[in-house]
């Protein structure tokens, strides 16, 4: 059975797949294969990092056959072993269903979800066992470090500078410039820091990289240490990311064993070591000066950055801080050179960006595309469009610091500058797709509520401004809004933006300002008509049945949890508004779209 040589079964054990029971699938494979004497060459089992298409997990890949199975359950394992492993047949029902072409696809690589993608930061994820440094090295890992140690520090910095790489964590500051400035300060010790405190709701690319390919982050950091003359680095990782912590910890140990970390790395005379610091659950610690305060053992309050951290950062020493995805880009840049990197993307925005495509979109998951890919390509080609083919309303990018982009801007290229120009932000790359059942006033309120808890509370404008904006938005969503509130919101938002101390405060009003700009109609509808057309704000929603559309199928009344719908078979149904709890179930279940949303019930 020579054909079984080098065959591997990769079971994805990223957080998304784990939640769908993938570990038990993995165990079942292990068990099934160990008891089967017929298979002479046993397939190798690997638990891999995230494959991206989390929603369709657990994902099982069979190599080199290039077969990908989705939504694999423990019960499917026997069939896969019988058919695919022993007889080289595919189990068609587990193949990926491509919503765009309406066909089942054998290899995930042919799926439209993966087709438009180009993987640099995610290059190894799903392909290697994150706990095995040998796996990483087999795919070229630590070659960049070897190459870098033969280069002059100055040349490494030049390489990064020329590549045009910009920080993937938010504002897009040029990485090379940061390194150069820091290298020019002679004060010692210097530090290298990795921001792994990913906190933007809706973004999980850093988590995936740390879980699926921790060595690339470490390699990037060592190279930077050598380039700027630092000997110590810290990885600040969210404590909730247990798997990421575990895998990074193991990778550090392995790297130390192989001589990539510690004293006299690869006989170069260069010393460098890394330490993990666990974040305590504070969104504000994603802000660099707050993160450093937290590493020092303080409360995570940002400071004014008139003196930048490249000069006085951690413990007031020169510090380079980059986020996880940025670090993951360093080794490929060193190996392939700046020209290669610069050939990808658009003017001023080179390389790729990882997005987490989530919300009301058919294919959700992690996506890495060249910078400049349009929003439309992302949502429709890769994402497969909106769930249930409902109308697209908006996309939220950049988390609480970003904004909501309306459909007029669907053809915007996704890069730092274009997003900023329309009032949003790249942020860490969360892309949350919203349809007509999403209320934009509620979205603004949601973010203010998030920030009310997550602001550090240090400065007046951020703390009191967010508190007041939340108060106003809550009023509007509850039907207590007045027209003058719109002006007041704007006035406060602008002051918070201009007068706050740190990046969190300065960008906090973006969700309010962008919804006010692009969805002002919805605000007016909430305030003047006391109506929430999306059916989200319960006080401003009532349901009624369109008698011209209702066919009397009784589905709505059967599904109503409180028995508020009456009507006989084949007759028009009626909703009793007094009993209705506005859960919206009837509207979802109705096959004819006969359940309509009205405004606030006017008291007689």
């Amino acid at each position: 059975m020579d054909r079984n040589k080098d065959r591997r079964i990769l079971v994805c054990c990223g957080t998304g797949c784990l939640a769908n029971n993938s570990y038990n699938v993995y165990l079942k494979f292990k068990e099934r294969l160990s008891e089967d004497a017929e298979i002479e060459v046993k397939p190798i089992m690997k638990s891999t990092g995230c494959n991206g298409l989390c929603e369709k997990g657990p994902v099982v890949k069979i190599l080199p056959d290039e077969i990908s199975y989705f939504k694999v359950t423990v019960d499917d394992v026997g069939e896969i072993v019988e058919k695919t492993i022993k007889n080289f047949e595919t189990v068609d029902r587990l193949l990926y269903y491509d919503t765009n072409s309406g066909k089942r696809i054998k290899s995930h690589k042919e799926a439209s979800f993966y087709k438009g993608q180009l993987k640099i930061a995610l290059r190894n994820i799903g392909e290697i066992n994150p706990l095995s440094i040998e796996d990483y090295m087999e795919r070229g890992g630590y070659k960049a470090l070897k190459k870098a140690l033969d280069m002059k520090p100055e040349d490494i910095i030049r390489e990064v500078e020329l590549s045009g790489l910009r920080g993937r964590g938010g504002a897009g500051f040029p990485t090379g410039v940061k390194w150069r400035t820091c290298s020019e300060y002679k004060d010692q010790p210097k530090y290298v820091v990795c921001n792994g405190d990913e906190g933007d709701p809706g973004a999980f690319m850093d988590r995936s990289i740390m879980e699926g390919d921790p060595n690339t982050v470490i390699e990037g950091m060592i190279i930077c240490g050598y380039a700027i003359g630092a000997h110590r680095g810290f990885l600040y990782i969210r404590d909730e990311y247990e798997l990421a912590l575990k895998n990074v910890r193991a990778a550090i140990d392995n790297a130390r064993e192989k001589g990539f970390l510690g004293k006299n790395i690869l006989n170069s005379g260069f010393d460098f070591d890394l330490e993990i610091v666990r974040g305590g659950g504070a969104f504000v610690c994603g802000e660099s000066s707050a993160l450093m305060a937290s590493i020092e053992g303080n409360v995570g309050e940002p400071r004014a950055k008139y003196i930048r951290s490249v000069e006085r950062g951690l413990w007031d020493k020169p510090t380079v801080l980059n986020n996880v995805e940025t670090w993951a880009n360093i080794p490929p840049i060193i190996i392939n050179g700046w020209k290669w990197f610069k050939s990808i993307g658009t003017e001023g925005n080179y390389g790729t960006k990882v997005f987490s495509l989530v919300g009301k979109v058919k294919n959700t998951g992690l996506v890495e595309v060249p910078m400049g890919t349009t929003l439309r390509q992302l949502v429709y080609d890769i994402g497969g469009g909106i769930i249930n083919n409902r109308p697209f309303k908006a996309v939220q990018t950049g988390g609480p610091s970003g904004g909501c982009i309306p459909k007029e801007h669907l053809d915007i290229p996704l890069d730092f500058d274009s997003l900023k120009a329309i009032g949003s932000m790249m942020g860490s790359g969360g892309v949350i797709v919203m349809d007509d059942t999403t209320c934009m006033v509620d979205v603004a309120r949601y973010y203010m509520n998030f920030l009310a808890e997550e602001s550090c509370g240090k400065c007046t404008t951020c703390r009191e401004g967010i508190r007041t904006m939340l108060h106003i938005l809550t009023n509007i969503t509850e039907g207590k809004g007045e027209m003058e509130d719109i002006e007041l919101l704007k006035e406060i938002a602008e002051t918070v933006m201009e007068a706050s101390l740190c990046g969190l405060g300065k960008s906090a009003p973006n969700p309010v300002l962008t919804t006010l700009e692009y969805f002002k109609d919805e605000y007016i509808e909430h305030i003047a008509d006391k109506r929430c057309a999306s059916g989200v704000c319960k006080n401003l929603t009532s349901y009624y049945i369109d008698e011209n559309k209702c066919i009397g199928c009784t589905i709505c009344s059967k599904n109503c949890p409180v028995g508020a719908i009456s009507g006989r078979l084949k007759e028009v149904h009626v909703i009793d508004e007094d009993r209705c709890i506005k859960c919206g179930t009837c509207a979802i279940k109705c096959p004819r779209g006969a359940v309509r949303i009205g405004g606030m019930k006017v008291e007689a």
């Binding site: 008139y306 550090c456 240090k458 404008t461 703390r463 007041t468 406060i492 002051t495 201009e498 101390l501």
Partner: protein, 249 residues
């Protein structure tokens, strides 16, 4: 180094903040969280000014901004005035019945939207952080910021009487809005949920410090004399001065 504030040429040293230089030259920059001798806290945001560094204009908090050679500073522009008004409005919503904030609002002609004001709200603290800083400077560290975001407040651990507190009242003294309650009554002081016994001045007989604060003062000054209150100390010093002058002439 030289810099210009509102057209006035000022002289400053490397490492000094803009606020320090302005104060020394008698130029007023509004602030609630700045106090001479304390490092800038950058919390209240009222001290924002416009700075022109070369051709670049930016808005900075003067209490933490380290001065640079040849910068030109404008303390109040229309834009900044508008920000200050909005900040005061936000403070008024936070502490609607505080007399100092109301005075400030009057001065800046600011009214807060009544729909968003709670007339029964008795909050006085605006979280400027001066009290925490003062307590730290005393070496006592009895109070600190607690919680975060809109729930942030200043308190002792668990809101209990703190064993570290010496009842010196430095916190209350530096508070711009008079938000810290100090009750002195018949030789007792109540502050931060703790009651202290007070020490009498051996000269005038008035209660002037808690026993704990007095003890600390003695240790610091290496002083074992009879307790004397500040007023009497001043009087003694003035008398001595008068005497020495009398001897000269």
């Amino acid at each position: 180094m030289k810099l210009k504030i509102d057209g006035i040429i000022c002289e400053g040293r490397e490492g000094e903040t803009l606020m320090e230089v302005a104060k020394r030259h008698g130029i007023h920059i509004p602030s609630l969280c700045y106090r001479k001798g304390f490092e800038g806290l950058a919390r209240c945001r009222l001290c924002l000014v416009e700075v022109k560094e070369g051709s670049r204009r930016r808005i900075v908090s003067s209490c933490v901004y380290p001065i640079k050679e040849n910068i030109e500073v404008t303390v109040t522009t229309d834009e900044i005035q508008r920000m200050r008004k909005n900040i005061i409005m936000l403070l008024l919503l936070k502490a609607p019945n505080n007399s100092y904030i109301n005075k400030l609002a009057e001065e800046y002609k600011v009214a807060a939207p009544e729909r968003y004001m709670n007339p029964l709200d008795d909050e006085n603290c605006i979280l400027c952080g001066l009290c925490v800083k003062a307590c730290e400077k005393m070496g006592t560290n009895a109070i600190s910021f607690v919680n975060r975001g809109i729930y942030k407040k200043v308190s002792t651990p668990y809101d209990d009487a703190s064993k570290d507190c010496i009842g010196c009242g430095a916190c209350a003294e530096v508070c711009p809005t008079n938000a810290i309650l100090v009750e002195d009554n018949e030789g007792k002081r109540k502050i931060w949920n703790r009651e202290f016994n007070m020490v009498k001045c051996s000269l005038c007989g008035s209660y002037f410090a808690t026993e704990e604060a007095y003890k600390l003062m003695q240790e610091k000054l290496n002083d074992n004399e009879e307790p004397i209150c500040n007023e009497c100390r001043k009087k003694i010093a003035a008398d001595k001065l008068k005497e020495s002058f009398a001897n000269i002439y």
